[in-house]
Amino acid sequence: MEVGQLQRSFVEYMASLFREISAFAFVFVVILDLSALELMYFAVLIQKGFLDAQFSQLQQLQDDSNPDFVVEVVSLFFEDSERLINDLTMALDQPNVDFKQVDAHVHQLKGSSSSVGAQRVKNCCVPFRNCCEEQNTETCLRCLQQIKQEYLLVKNKLQTLFELEQQIVAAGGAIPMVQ
């Protein structure tokens, strides 16, 4: 349903309520709003640990002169992460695993996931590095598996978030800024 329509019909409804009850609760308008849905989704992502404060900081860097900043950064993150995960898979597939190399890759992945605010991915990197130090291929593989899972999850979430934003912009609304 078109955002404006939603808002208008809600206002009328509330006004009619007011005539009957003389009560006034305009705060509720927000919840039926599409942009509020996005806010709520984002809040859930933060709460569940998929995203952290770094992501909010990225959002703050976005403005009218730079409207696609977050999407661009996240796209770079997707590209880099997928490349790194591939490299890791290949490196751990070797008969003689070069753990230094593996460690370097994980280090990089940790850095980029941290910058973009993909908290759960970042958290997987720490035990991974311990496994590298211990030079244990099996545990490393398990860590890699986990990283793949977390990465796919956060990728999915972020893509949903962007889709919501696109819908809002298409419906003519404004994307709410989270402070």
């Binding site: 808002q7 206002v11 009328e12 509330m14 006004a15 009619s16 007011f18 005539r19 003389s22 006034f24 305009f26 308008v29 770094q54 900081q57 990225l58 703050q60 860097l61 403005d63 730079n66 900043f69 661009e72 950064v73 770079l76 993150f77 880099d80 280090h107 990089q108 940790k110 850095g111 980029s112 941290s114 910058s115 973009v116 609304g173 404004a174």
Partner: protein, 684 residues
């Protein structure tokens, strides 16, 4: 039989009348409710618009105005209920603190757009500036606003050309007020207009109220006049105007199709004025002057402490009192009257008066401003009435000051601490013995700027004597491209009265010495408060404006983030992918400087943000090389390291390589600023 039927008919008629009366009250209660609901709807819609509007836009100002109009409607609604209360003598006046200047300006501005549409100027006359002295008062703001609203509304309805002036002045009540307490004084005069006849028919209740407010030592009498050039009220109808429900002119054919005055308001107005201890009447005008002038007085209690007004509907931004630079329109800073400081200022320099050139379209406003500036502020005013006179006047004034300044050599401009508006270092003033002179030009460009005028302005600006400051105020639109205007000019939207006039006059005291302000911005480089330029527009002086920063980072994503973060802070950002590139950039920059040949080469970058781990040449290597190169030129560019490690060895490495500070890799705006701030302070 006949009588019976007549009686029955009569009873029926009575019953019907009673039913009608009851239905009327229910209907009005219903209407009241419905109107409130619609107002609530409007309120919500305004809220939603605000959510979608960008914060600094004109749209938000309009929304604020809409909001205050909606609040006014609500007040009117309440007043309809209050009507009966007043008539029954049950009305109680509230006592709250409010700002008189703001109230007056708010009320006048409500009618200004309406008037502007039909070419009627609605202006606020500051008279002798006394309102500024007693601007903080205690009383019933809503009722006073209702009184003023009513009078202005009537003036607006009945005036189709000319002007509507709201005058206000204040004074401490003197002995002549005791005559108000005596009943049946037929000829008591308020102020110096002897032709005002009052009708005092006080009830005992009103006398009591008078006594209470007037006995307070802080009691101040406020006198208001609403003067218009409209239809006027014939002498014989003047008394009956104050009786409720009397329409003055049944055959009004108003230009905009609005109905004739309902006359309802004046009765209420009179009751309210009396409740506030005063009286209202119609002032006779001079022969040949058309229109009506209502005058009334009330008594309020003046407050001394300047407290911030939070519940003023028109307050857009309650600025802190020190934060003058970011003052938006509509604010009054301290309780100290600006007018006083300017007046005293000018009395010191009276032998070399500052000149004001006034070119305002509206005649009456021009007159009012001229009178105020000359009599109250002691400025010398030249009024330009027609386009053709403008260039001559400019030449004349420039000639005058050039002559006088050439005879007075070595007078340096005294940079007053303009940021603290009311703080004038009078002693240093006297020491230097030289007055602060300025030329203030107020130009109304609503009819456009002719070529002669532009040329005359350019002429004036050329070779302008250095010891006199020139301030140009453009009303509505600047004559030329706003970007081409010197920063000492300001653009103000009409109407020029109240807070806008205040700003213009304060403008004349602002001698922003360029160097002192530059030093200030350097010291407060990273203060988050946004300083506003002279125009009052928040020009968002970002903390790193004008700085050149080089970001060296191999990871694309991190590079993008860092670059955006730094650019957001206002800096010009350059990027490199690794240490080698960075070294090349720095070397190139340094040698270019030398070729240009300044005696002390300035660094090609103000800061370098360097990632530690990079292919080809890492951060440490690059820094070492850069330092070597710099040494040849005697320069040192601060380098901030971006590192993912925080172990001690890493930190040591960083400082050993010659870097000045370090930050974790994810750092964005704030941390970068902090780092730069730290470096600045350790340097200085």
């Amino acid at each position: 039989m006949y009588l019976c039927s007549a009686l029955i008919k009569q009873m029926e008629a009575t019953q019907q009348a009673e039913r009608k009366s009851m239905n009327k009250s229910t209907a009005s209660a219903r209407a009241n409710h419905d109107v409130r609901a619609s107002l609530a709807g409007i309120s919500g819609l305004i809220w939603m618009c605000r959510v979608q509007a960008s914060p600094q836009s004109e749209l938000v100002k309009y929304l604020d105005h809409m909001e205050s109009c909606k609040n006014d409607l609500l007040d009117i609604l309440n007043s309809i209920l209050d009507e009966n209360k007043i008539e029954e003598g049950k009305k109680q006046l509230k006592e709250e603190e409010f700002n008189m200047e703001e109230l007056l300006e708010h009320v006048v501005n409500i009618y200004y757009p309406n008037g502007a549409m039909k070419n009627v100027d609605v202006l606020l006359d500051p008279c002798d500036g006394s309102i500024a002295r007693f601007s903080r008062v205690k009383g019933d703001r809503i009722e006073l606003q209702r009184i003023l609203n009513n009078l202005l509304q009537n003036a607006d309805k009945f005036t189709s050309e000319g002007h509507i002036t709201l005058r206000a002045w204040a004074r401490k009540p003197g002995f002549e007020e005791s005559s108000n307490l005596a009943p049946n004084t037929s000829n008591s005069s308020i102020g110096c207009m002897p032709c005002l006849r009052l009708q005092n028919d006080e009830s005992s209740a009103e006398v009591r109220i008078l006594n209470r407010v007037q006995q307070d030592p802080n009691c101040v009498e406020f006198i208001f006049e609403v003067d218009d050039t409209g239809k006027g009220i014939p002498k014989e109808k003047q008394k009956s105007v104050f009786e409720n429900y009397v329409q003055v002119n049944d055959q009004t054919t108003s230009v905009h199709g609005s109905q004739a005055g309902t006359g309802l308001g004046l009765g209420i107005t009179q009751s309210l004025v009396r409740l506030m201890g005063g009286e209202i009447g119609i002032v006779d005008k001079q022969i040949g002057e058309k229109g009506t002038c209502f005058r009334f007085n009330i008594f309020l209690i003046a407050c001394d402490q300047p407290q911030l007004q939070e519940h003023q509907a028109t307050s857009v931004n309650c600025a802190k009192e020190e934060d003058l630079e970011s003052q938006l329109e509509g604010d009054y800073i301290s309780n100290d009257s600006y007018y006083h400081s300017v007046a005293s200022d000018n009395s010191i320099t009276s032998h070399q008066k500052s000149n004001v050139i006034l070119f305002i379209k509206e005649e009456e406003r021009s007159r009012v401003l001229r009178r105020f500036m000359m009599n109250v502020l002691g400025l010398k005013v030249h009024v330009v009435n027609r386009h053709e006179q403008f260039p001559q006047t400019l030449k004349k004034v420039k000639g005058k000051i050039t002559n006088s300044s050439s005879s007075s050599c070595k007078s340096k401009e005294i940079p007053l601490s303009a940021l603290d508006g009311t703080e004038i270092d009078i002693s240093s003033f006297q020491r230097r013995g030289r007055g602060l002179r300025f030329i203030l030009i107020i130009i109304d460009t609503s009819d456009g700027l002719t070529r002669e005028m532009s040329r005359a302005m350019a002429e004036l600006r050329k070779d302008f004597p250095k010891n006199v400051s020139l301030r140009v105020v453009w009303l509505d639109k600047p004559g030329v491209d706003e970007d081409k205007l010197p920063s000492t000019d300001i653009v103000i939207t009409k109407p020029l009265h109240g807070s806008r006039l205040f700003r213009v006059l304060k403008f004349t005291q602002d001698i922003k010495d360029d160097t002192t302000s530059r030093i200030k911005t350097q010291q407060h480089l990273l203060v988050q408060d946004v300083p506003v330029d002279v125009n009052g527009r928040s020009c968002k002086k970002l903390p790193l404006t004008g700085k050149k920063i080089l970001v060296v980072e191999d990871d694309r994503m991190l590079l993008m983030i860092c670059k955006t973060a730094v650019s957001r802070l206002g800096a010009t950002t350059y990027t490199c992918k690794n240490g080698q590139e960075a070294l090349d950039e720095v070397c190139k920059g340094l040698s270019e400087q030398r070729d240009i040949g300044p005696s002390t080469p300035s660094p090609p970058f103000d800061y370098i943000l360097m990632d530690c781990e990079m292919p080809e040449m890492d951060g440490f290597e690059a820094t070492k090389c850069i330092r070597k190169e710099e040494a040849r030129y005697g320069i040192r560019i601060p380098i901030i390291a971006f590192t993912a490690h925080t172990e001690k060895e890493e930190i040591d490495k960083i400082f050993q390589a010659g870097m000045d500070y370090y930050l974790p890799k994810e750092s964005k705006g704030e941390e970068i600023l902090k780092a730069i701030d730290y470096i600045e302070h350790t340097k200085v």
